[in-house]
């Protein structure tokens, strides 16, 4: 049959949805336990929301799905949400801006054009944002929350990689590039081309050396950052203050026994990060990431509110979860009509309704072609004196039953 699905889109089949819901339910339950509240933003937003802050790269903005609405004669373009954080920041500013602290989470799809045909153009994210969260304690909170979700999902061999956007920006400043060159270099870095930095000719050999060592060495504790500080005493004030911030986060993680790797390249795609950035990687795939973005809310005309957050990439995580069968065996009940007469069908509906009222899941069948993994099967013949046959699929027993009340009595109420 001809494929009629829109290019770059995906269908989620029952087996996929079981895994999807497992991710979502685990995420939702962890967020509630940490005091986060769920929000949902619309699929359509104004394009300028994403250009106004200057926080998405031209490359990303070139891939948004934007169009004019039916009343768009003013030229105001709208987009299919290309990012999860910016709409939530807008929601916070517009509705919750008076709250000093807001812990919010969401499960959403985001849209971006992808030309190779290998990746989805609609991707799902589980994200949490902490507005007003003070410095390193909030950073560590979001890292540990993300880590808990991943752990409870049972994903193995996950690496936590840490970087610091303020540190990278301060380092970039040390190269003393022209504003245009610096913007170009920032875009290249954010699109993952870190090697570009090693090719920049710097008049200051110590900066090139610092860059090279940060790119090649991967620290495993805060000691590494102390060593960096001691090796480059003449670095700029911005660099030193970012490094101090970075050290505070890593020291707290050390104390809490959370293992990580310091990898300066662990920043991806977004320019709005200002402080610590982190990524979770499993089987060479990024399964989540986040960081601190203190400038975003003020840039969107909100108050000077610091913030941090993360997103877990549901599509990637689902691939790491085992396929599971829908488990019905323990409680599923099949109500089966022996013949397709109005009377038998009516009785079947009444039996199923009573069972559902008693708290059971009850499925109907009139075809005789049902699956076999039920706990109980009730055959309805409508013939007196025993219109029902009840089969216990676990104990492999079969008995004739005279009334609905008797069935409920045997099966029990949930």
């Amino acid at each position: 049959m001809k494929n009629q699905k829109c290019k770059g889109m995906q269908d989620l089949l029952p087996a996929d949805m079981l895994r999807f819901r497992r991710v979502e339910d685990t995420f939702r339950s962890c967020c509630h336990n940490w005091g986060y509240q769920e929000v949902r933003t619309p699929t359509l937003e104004y394009l300028y929301l994403f250009t106004a802050t200057g926080t998405l790269t031209p490359g990303m903005l070139g891939k948004v799905y934007s169009f004019l609405d039916w009343d768009g004669w003013s030229g105001e373009r709208i987009v299919l949400r290309p990012d999860g954080t910016i709409p939530v920041a807008r929601l916070y500013i517009e509705n919750l801006g008076d709250q000093e602290l807001a812990r919010l989470f969401y499960v959403t799809d985001i849209f971006a054009f992808e030309g190779t045909g290998k990746e989805n153009r609609e991707r799902w994210q589980c994200g949490a944002e902490f507005f007003g969260g003070a410095k390193f304690a909030a950073d560590v909170e979001t890292i540990l929350l993300a880590e808990e979700v991943i752990r409870r999902l049972g994903i193995k061999n996950v690496e936590l990689r840490l970087s610091h956007a303020g540190l990278v920006k301060a380092l970039l400043k040390e190269f003393r590039l022209s504003p245009a060159e610096e913007a170009k270099m920032t875009s290249r870095i954010l699109e993952g081309d870190w090697q570009a930095l090693t090719k920049v000719k710097s008049a200051r050999p110590e900066i090139a050396r610092l860059m090279a060592s940060l790119l090649s060495l991967k620290g495993k504790s805060s000691s590494f950052l102390h060593n960096v500080r001691a090796s480059f005493p003449k670095a700029s004030r911005d660099f030193m203050s970012s490094l101090k911030d970075f050290i505070e986060v890593t020291e707290l993680l050390d104390d809490l026994g959370c293992s990580y790797e310091i990898d300066i390249t662990a920043i991806h795609g977004f320019e709005y990060y200002t402080g610590i950035c982190f990524q979770f990687v499993s089987s060479r795939e990024r399964i989540g990431g986040g960081g601190r973005y203190d400038r975003l809310v003020p840039l969107m005309n909100g108050k000077e509110v610091p913030a941090c957050g993360f997103a877990l990439y549901v599509d990637h995580i689902m691939k790491l979860l085992p396929l599971e069968k829908e488990k019905r065996g323990e409680s599923g009940i099949l109500v089966k009509g022996k013949v397709l007469t109005p009377e038998v069908v009516r009785t079947c509906f009444a039996v199923a309704e009573s069972l559902r009222d008693a708290g059971h899941a009850a499925e109907l069948s009139f075809t005789g072609r049902e699956k076999s993994d039920y706990r109980w099967v009730i055959s309805v013949s409508g013939k007196e004196p025993s219109p029902f046959v009840l089969r216990d699929c676990v104990r492999k027993r079969r008995r004739e039953v005279a009334s609905l009340a008797e069935i409920i009595d045997i099966i029990g109420t949930k």
Binding site: T53, W73, R77
Partner: protein, 479 residues
């Protein structure tokens, strides 16, 4: 002349109308690839090569060539680098390949502004917090420019033409073609940056290049490739000297009226004369984007009729003379738009028709619908419909349950697309002669359209403007 057979398959070439026609014809004749009848007076769109028996060509609007080559309707094409980049910036992974720059064509795409806007360099644009209105015939290039500059808030207004007329009142920035900085300045604009040099380019379809043997044709171009075109400053100044463009002197007026250029200009000028509205700079002889009226409260601008409904909806103009076809096209796209037709003016009457090739075995739209449903292979599924009125065409096809269909937007002369590149057209016709010449038949008349006066509903309701508008419409009713 000896006519040789190209190896293997037939090869199709898309050749440009308009600005590059005569230089392209000279080039092709010079390299022995001439096509009979490829001249300014060309009567036919379809041409045959005088050299290769299985090489054919079609004359298309330059803007249409990149997409026609990309979708594989043509193996090769020649058009300006501006239209190629306009396509590639939006569809970088498409099947359009730039083969070589040809050494003719001149000018560049510039970003320009007007002195009154208050922008003096690109940095002003990056840090500007206010909304920036950008008008251009190249909306994709304009958007890429705005994104690369990281402009905070911008709106792009794609226009059919006359982009230079919009700043400062109706746009802050314009992305347009010009020979050089002096040419841009001669239009009363300040050039900010050269975005792209424009020369004629030879382009090819990726698949054709990969699978077909085009070598005999490409070899003909050998001698012409690689040399860069030169436009000297003197040449440019000469051209500017010859231009009769009046530099705009601008001041805010109470009522703004848009008048049409192109085919509509002469009948519109005659109509206004009959109505007793004396204008300087709006006649056959004088081309001014800003004619002057003897009413000091009336501001007038000359723009494309296609662009007027949107500009009136935006409040850039209170009134405009356009066609009913373009008003309906706008209303199909923006159903709640605050634009209203006041009255028809009785000139520029055309019929908007749906037409197909005479060979197609259908006589009306109902028969076409059953044909598309019953035997899609006869018409090719989906049905390809060429139109310059894409929103009218979309609605018409939907309302008539023609399914599936695909629209091919054109820039006029849709008849050139049938029957090879489209199955049906929805376009305007005055007498039906052109359709007849191209062996097409009309299946349906969608509606009749003539010039009309349109107004912005908010302007009509404004106590400040009401009286002046009333005065003007009374005068025009007498035309």
């Amino acid at each position: 002349m000896i006519i040789t057979q190209l190896k293997h398959q037939c090869v199709k070439f898309a050749l440009p109308k308009g600005r590059f026609l005569s230089s392209t014809a000279d080039l092709l004749a010079g390299i022995g690839l001439g096509f009979d009848g490829y001249s300014d007076r060309a009567k036919q769109y379809r041409l045959r090569s005088a050299t290769f028996s299985n090489l054919s060509a079609k004359i298309l609007q330059e803007k249409d060539i990149p997409i026609q080559v990309a979708v594989g309707n043509y193996d090769l094409g020649i058009c300006g680098a501006d239209w190629i980049e306009e396509y590639l910036v939006k569809y970088p992974t498409g099947a359009l390949v730039k083969v070589a720059s040809l050494n003719y064509g001149q000018g560049s795409i510039h970003a320009a502004t007007s002195a009154q806007v208050g922008i003096t360099n690109l940095n002003d644009l990056s840090v500007r917090k206010n909304d920036c209105r950008i008008v251009s015939e190249y909306p994709n290039l304009a958007e890429a420019f705005a994104l690369n500059l990281r402009m905070r808030k911008f709106r792009i207004f794609p226009v059919w033409g006359a982009a230079e007329a919009y700043p400062p009142e109706n746009a802050d920035l314009v992305v347009l073609w010009g020979i050089g900085r002096a040419h841009i300045a001669a239009q009363g604009l300040i050039p900010l940056e050269k975005l792209l040099p424009v020369t004629a380019f030879l382009v090819a379809n990726r698949e054709s290049l990969e699978n077909k043997d085009l070598s005999q044709i490409l070899t003909c171009f050998d001698s012409q490739l690689g040399t860069e075109p030169q436009t000297s400053m003197e040449q440019e100044l000469d051209i500017c000297k010859d231009m009769k463009i009046l530099c705009p002197s601008w001041q805010a007026r109470e009522i703004n009226l848009a008048l049409p250029d192109g085919h509509q200009q002469i009948p519109a000028a005659q109509f206004l004369k009959r109505a007793g509205l004396a204008l300087q700079g709006y006649s056959e002889e004088v081309v001014s984007r800003r004619p002057a009226a003897d009413l000091d409260w009336l501001g007038i601008k000359v723009i494309r009729p296609q662009d007027m409904p949107l500009q009136v909806a935006n409040g850039n103009f209170d009134l405009a003379i356009t066609g009913e076809d373009w008003l309906l096209e706008h209303l199909c796209r923006f159903p709640s738009s605050p634009v209203k037709k006041l009255f028809a003016l009785g000139f520029g009457t055309v019929k908007i028709v749906a037409a197909v090739s005479q060979e197609m075995p259908v006589n009306d739209i109902d028969e076409l619908r059953s044909l598309v449903q019953r035997s899609p292979s006869v018409v090719g599924a989906p049905l390809k419909v060429a139109s310059e009125y894409i929103n009218i065409a979309d609605r018409y096809l939907r309302d008539n349950h023609i399914n599936p269909y695909r629209l091919i937007p054109t820039w006029g002369a849709s008849e050139a697309f049938l029957p090879e590149d489209a199955d049906m057209l929805i376009d305007n016709t005055q007498t039906g002669k052109t359709l007849e010449q191209h062996r097409l038949k009309v299946l349906d008349v969608l509606f009749q359209s003539s010039a009309c006066l349109i107004a912005n509903k908010d302007s009509l309701a404004s106590s400040r403007k009401k009286e002046r508008i009333e005065f003007l419409t009374q005068k025009l009713r007498g035309g």
